[in-house]
Symmetry: C2
Subunit: 330 residues, 2 copies
């Protein structure tokens, strides 16, 4: 029996979150809604122009791991921090959530990654990520016992940005498939898809990836088509299972000819979309590894995503297992 439900792999990042107006994004050439990669110098500059902020552990797959643990699933995580203050915060938060996290931290430079996240009045988040220590994640960080002992290995498309992480992913995927388990990925961001389109398609078509998470614009970017239905048909061909989120329109789960439509939950107030896709994946994968129907997996994803966008910060502050119970999804 697998020791973990899901092993998540990603860029280990602490978020620095502040509100801003639309003009700030324009004035600072920040692409709205996207993950903008920045260097140390630009990180300094943006921070000096940033309003009062709060800090919270983040990182796409880290948020997913935290969500799975909050649902009551057994999660593990690979990601690289530095042995500095932000690294301690990241490590504390993910372990305190119950996630097994043992990747060896860097002893010195580069420092732990941070993403300056600007939230506009419409709740949309625009990220500015300095990768720092994440560039050092490599195949030597693959813990074989975890890689072979998770029902699903899940990783971020973002990991194609640092130089060595993709080797870690391919190695982990071999462990997983060797043990008869599955591999999932998120396409992460439409610009990320644009940077690595051919490699992402190769991952899917070669069977390295079995399950794909994407939002509508990422999927459209992947297949360079303006037709959503066409994109769904193509992704159904390229992987065993795909879950495609569509913001306030909910999500569609695609499996061969099947199309399962999942409604979103009702929202009182959209505060901050940071973590929406990550938490959708957490609910879906929690359900999936508990052998729930894919419709239920989608509902669990909608629930977690719907909760996280009603607060500041990318990780759930509620107990998601309690919330699932309250919503009749336990």
């Amino acid at each position: 029996m697998a020791k973990y439900d899901v092993l998540c792999i990603g860029n280990a990042i602490v978020d620095i979150i502040a509100r801003c107006d639309e003009k700030f994004l324009v004035d600072h050439s920040i692409i709205k809604g996207a993950m903008n990669l920045i260097d140390a110098e630009r990180a300094e500059l943006l921070y000096s122009h940033m309003g009062p902020a709060i800090e919270a552990s983040g990182g796409s797959a880290g948020n997913t791991a935290a969500g799975i643990a909050s649902f009551g699933g057994k999660a593990a995580y690979f990601g690289k921090v530095c042995n500095d203050h932000l690294g301690h915060i990241f490590t504390h938060d993910i372990r305190a959530q119950g996630v097994a996290f043992d990747t060896k931290p860097l002893e010195k430079d580069p420092p732990t990654a941070r993403s300056m996240i600007f939230v506009t009045p419409d709740g949309e988040r625009s990220m500015n990520t300095y990768l720092g220590a994440c560039v050092e994640l490599g195949p030597e960080d693959v813990e074989a016992d975890k890689a072979a002992n998770a029902k699903v290995v899940y990783f971020e498309g973002y990991l194609w940005d640092p130089p060595l992480a993709k080797e870690a992913i391919r190695l982990t995927a071999r462990h997983a498939h060797g043990a008869g388990h599955e591999v999932a990925m998120t396409l992460s961001d439409p610009f990320c898809v644009d940077r690595y389109r051919d490699e992402f398609l190769e991952l899917m078509r070669s069977g390295t990836v079995d399950i794909v998470f994407a939002n509508e614009s990422e999927l459209i970017s992947l297949y360079q088509t303006s037709s959503f239905d066409e994109a769904l048909k193509l992704v159904a061909n390229d992987c065993k299972l795909a879950a495609v989120t569509r913001s306030e329109k909910g999500s569609v789960v695609v499996r061969g000819e099947e199309r399962i439509i999942v409604e979103p939950i009702e929202i009182d107030e959209l505060v901050d979309t940071t973590g929406a896709g990550d938490l959708y994946a957490s609910g879906f994968l929690y359900g999936y590894t508990q052998n729930r129907s894919v419709a239920d997996c989608g509902k669990l994803g909608s629930l977690a995503a719907g909760l996280v966008i009603q607060q500041i910060g990318p990780r759930p502050r509620q107990s998601l297992s309690h919330e699932a119970e309250q919503h009749g999804l336990a």
Copy 2:
């Protein structure tokens, strides 16, 4: 004309905030609702038992300064951080809010102060503060130009905990009174009052302090009486003006024989009481330094306090000047 509306002086602290259940407080001997002082070793221990957290700049008078600036007032701040990561966060956040903050940071140990704040399901916060660099704040940190150029100097009773800050306060108060300005303090915490009752009373009775902020339990502790009316009578005798907050019962402003009752604002959901008293003081002092009626000062205090308790973290994420406008208090 005074360059600043309010100069705030306090322990410069970054808050580390997590939820916990009631049992956690009991198991860890944390006095509920209080500010518990801890040493470095206990800070390590509590952090290792703390759930996933978020970090936000705090410190009682720092929160007040941030609130005043958010209302559109001109605020300055004295407080001691270390030149470390938490110190950078504190400095960034208070300056980004528009507060003049130039206290020289420590170059090395002790590190910047942090307070681990546990929020129970009822929204009450229980603080565990490691004072770190704050113990080094002293009279050499008094910037004479700021001390003499603020309409009101406001400080925390908490400053009696570190060894040298009280000398800084007395020096600042002399500058302020010498320039014909007023001095205000908050009693901070009922246990803090218990530690320094005689000194606090001496500050008031000697005229070092003109204006007092307190909540009901602090005032009751100050005068060791079980009668709230009796405590109001005593405080009216001991200072020119006092504003006493009473949680969901609003506040009472006391000036000689006058008693001005201020209603609280309506709350949708009580999330976290951290910063309630600090933000009440910010609204009150903003109004006071704009020559508003004391009734209006109290309403501005109620507004800011009511907003901050509906979010996680001790500083306003809204523009308080915008909120004042929306509530007909501009």
